[in-house]
């Protein structure tokens, strides 16, 4: 064994030391984004979000710190944080809070940022409109997801009752339900989303009004249902199905659309109206739903087929000190950073959460995935009939939307007449505007 000279020993030790220091300082790792980014969202599959944030940090050399906040207090929490001076660079924001955040300087429009114009061109016009500011001049965020109300039916139950095709009109749907009850196939065959949360009764009310050809708001966003015969028809039908005990009587006190759709898993209902993304769990998750795989089917929304559609979003904090990196993350989340729709595609595959980029639905993975639970072509057709509103951009909308639920519930239960109930809705909006 040859002895090690002092010079060689010092040289080797020096190289090892320098290597260790470089590794510790990160010099041997990929270059990092300039500044750390804070990203917050409400709790929905937080592990999935964490996975794609990790993916982003690795692939794009990001320094994103993700935090999930419970849904009930998400928006007040974000406002309180802004109030205390904290800057969350990228945030989830529901459609009905976007305008408020914009008007109060919490979020910044994204029109001037690189690549925004290309993404605008790829979005369906209705969704693009809904993401814009009240005056239509600014784009306030990129889409987290879009959804609309759909009609789902229990095929085995209809077959059992000798009903060959799902209802095409609301009258036919009521007729089917009455028959199913009379034949003792189901005690309560219809499950509308009349739950007590903001995602339940009022979006369902708008959907059924639209499908009956009624407008809910006029061009100035005033409630005009008291002047719309279609709205009266929809409400008379709601009273009728409730009185005939065709619906689950406790649906009015369900606290979320999620709870409501789970009732349909039992297979004891023939028809269900709810958000489109519940199709995945109802018809695609046999471990949860008795109507999976594909025993529950999508049907055209009755009447003229129109139903309420909305778009929730990722927004940029107006005070972000790392705008470039925050925008890069926002494009990764709500667009196609470097041409890859990674996050939007993941949501489609994992949860059936749709997005407003039609080109996404040509992807073979997405076609194969949807095919496991639903008729994608029919769903895309339904989206073409989705109707967005602009009223949620008004400052009074949140309060109107919540307080109106009590009026509509009273109406459903026959506590008031249809004309009087609809007048009360219009009066409520007027009192808040």
């Amino acid at each position: 064994m040859s002895p090690i000279s002092r010079r060689r020993f010092l040289g080797t030790a020096g190289m090892l030391g320098a290597g260790a220091m470089l590794a510790a300082e990160g010099a041997l790792r990929p270059a990092r984004a300039d500044k750390p980014i804070n990203f917050s969202g409400w709790v929905f599959k937080p592990d999935t979000v964490k996975d794609y944030v990790d993916f982003y940090n690795k692939k794009y050399a990001g320094q994103v710190k993700y935090e999930a906040i419970p849904w009930p207090n998400y928006h007040p929490t974000m406002e309180t944080r802004a109030f205390s001076g904290e800057i969350v660079d990228v945030m989830y924001c529901t459609h009905n809070n976007r305008e408020r955040w914009f008007e109060n300087g919490l979020l910044r429009p994204i029109d001037d940022l690189p690549g925004a114009d290309e993404l605008k061109k790829k979005m369906t016009p209705a969704n693009l409109d809904s993401l814009k500011s009240k005056d239509g001049s600014k784009l306030l965020g990129l889409p987290y997801f879009t959804s609309l109300f759909v009609l789902i039916y229990n095929e085995p139950m209809l077959q059992q009752a000798g009903i060959k095709a799902p209802a095409k009109s609301w009258d036919e749907l009521v007729e089917h339900c009455a028959k199913l009850k009379k034949d003792k196939v189901s005690d309560t065959p219809y499950l509308p989303n009349w739950n007590n949360s903001p995602s339940g009764t009022m979006p369902q009310f708008m959907s059924d009004c639209f499908s009956d050809g009624a407008n809910v708001f006029d061009a100035k966003n005033r409630v005009i249902v008291d002047q719309e015969p279609g709205a009266a028809r929809a409400m008379e039908r709601w009273q009728k199905v409730y009185k005939a005990e065709l619906v689950n009587p406790e649906v009015l006190t369900k606290t979320s659309s999620t709870d409501t759709h789970r009732i349909f898993w039992t297979g004891r209902y023939a028809y269900h109206t709810n958000h489109s993304y519940y199709l995945k769990t109802i018809a695609g998750e046999p471990e949860n739903s008795k109507l999976a795989p594909k025993k529950a089917k999508l049907a055209n929304y009755p009447g003229n087929g129109q139903s309420y559609m909305w778009t929730d979003s990722y927004v940029l904090n107006a005070k972000s000190k790392a705008l470039e990196d925050a925008w890069k993350l926002t494009k990764f989340l709500g667009g196609n950073l470097n041409g890859d729709w990674y996050v939007q595609r993941q949501w489609c595959l994992i949860s059936g959460l749709d997005n407003p980029y039609p080109e996404m639905y040509d992807h073979p993975d997405i076609i194969a995935s949807y095919d496991r639970w639903i008729d994608l072509k029919l769903l895309r057709e339904q989206y073409k009939k989705g109707r967005v509103i602009a009223a949620y951009k008004e400052p009074w909308y949140g309060e109107y939307d919540t307080k109106a639920v009590a009026i509509v519930h009273n109406l459903i239960r026959g506590g008031t007449t249809v004309p009087k109930g609809l007048k009360e809705l219009a009066a409520l909006q007027k009192s808040l505007a």
Binding site: E79, G85, T253, E399, V405
Partner: protein
């Protein structure tokens, strides 16, 4: 022989306290010295109790917009506290003008009344049972605390599992036993749903009342019961003339706690009904929560909740007058 009387307590401290600073003794009068000792605790109380209370009370007289970043403000430890526009009694007048406020208030009074009566009677009844000697008593006393120790969200979900129209265990078992042909919809109408809320909350809170009553019962001298028995008193007479009077301070405590808890109950409404159907389970606390956190109207929201605070204080005062006014503790 006259005995020297000695005080059982140590001699009172001198009127002047002595402390040292830099080797020199500093003599402070007793008053300032006492203030010096309690000052840290007082500072903490002011910072975490008094100041937030005063700020929230002040908010109820202002037009609050959390997102407003301009206008007058005070800077406190690096945090900007905006001075919102003072609107005087406007928020209070606005809520008093709202029929929903009054409907919620009467509903709250019904809820609190029913809950206080149920929780007190059940708590007392269970305490009487657990005060007797029987096999398995220690286990029963331990199990008693389970409902009370559960989070209210869990309690709500548990009772949905029992009472739900579609999935509920109650309806399921009743149908299997042939006692029901269809399902009972406990949450179908508002009055029924409100009573379910009362009972579920009682199930959650009565164990604590039991615990307090039980502690009170165990501090009653056995001699009193023995003497009553010698005088020919039966079980109910002993309860009426020995147990109940001795439990008066505990009863006061239970009533105050149940009343305050009843007024503030919010989480079960959130989990079970969200104030519906048609606002028929909306109480003042739910209305205040919604106004503040759903409509972002923190001014009227805090005003609603301060009326609740006022009611709690009023009822505590009344309980004190009715229950404790003539009560004199033993020397």
């Amino acid at each position: 022989m006259a005995r020297e009387l000695r005080s059982p307590v140590p001699a009172a401290p001198s009127r002047v306290a002595t402390t040292r600073r830099g080797g020199r003794a500093i003599r402070l009068p007793e008053g300032p010295f006492a203030w010096l000792l309690v000052a840290p605790a007082l500072a903490v109380i002011v910072a975490v109790v008094a100041a937030p209370l005063a700020y929230s009370l002040w908010l109820s007289f202002t037009d609050v917009n959390l997102l407003r970043t301009t206008g007058p403000a005070v800077e406190l430890f690096g945090m900007r506290l905006p001075l919102y526009r003072w609107v005087g009694l406007k928020n209070y007048l606005q809520i008093f003008d709202d029929p929903l406020y009054w409907a919620s208030l009467w509903r709250t009074l019904y809820f609190v009344g029913a809950f206080v009566i149920e929780a007190t009677l059940v708590g007392l009844g269970v305490a009487l049972v657990l005060n007797e000697r029987f096999a398995g008593r220690p286990l029963m006393r331990s199990l008693l605390l389970v409902p009370w120790s559960l989070s209210r969200v869990v309690v709500g979900l548990l009772w949905i599992g029992i009472l739900d129209f579609e999935f509920g265990a109650f309806n399921g078992y009743m149908q299997r036993l042939g006692l029901l042909s269809g399902s009972i919809a406990f949450f179908k109408d508002g009055f029924s749903a409100l009573n379910v809320l009362v009972s579920v909350y009682m199930w959650n809170q009565a164990p604590f009342a039991t615990l307090l009553f039980l502690a009170g019962m165990q501090s009653i001298s056995e001699d009193l019961y023995a003497a009553a028995e010698v005088d020919g008193a039966g079980y109910w007479q002993r309860f009426r003339y020995v147990t109940l009077p001795a439990l008066r301070p505990i009863l006061f405590l239970v009533l105050v706690l149940c009343t305050v808890n009843g007024f503030l109950m919010l989480d079960l409404i959130y989990v079970l009904t969200m104030g519906g159907p048609a606002n028929e389970t909306t109480t003042i606390s739910w209305l205040g929560f919604q106004t503040s956190f759903a409509f972002f109207k923190f001014g009227p929201g805090t005003a609603i909740l301060y009326t609740l605070t006022g009611l709690c204080l009023l009822l505590t005062f009344l309980y004190h007058r009715l229950i404790l006014a003539r009560f004199e503790p033993e020397a």
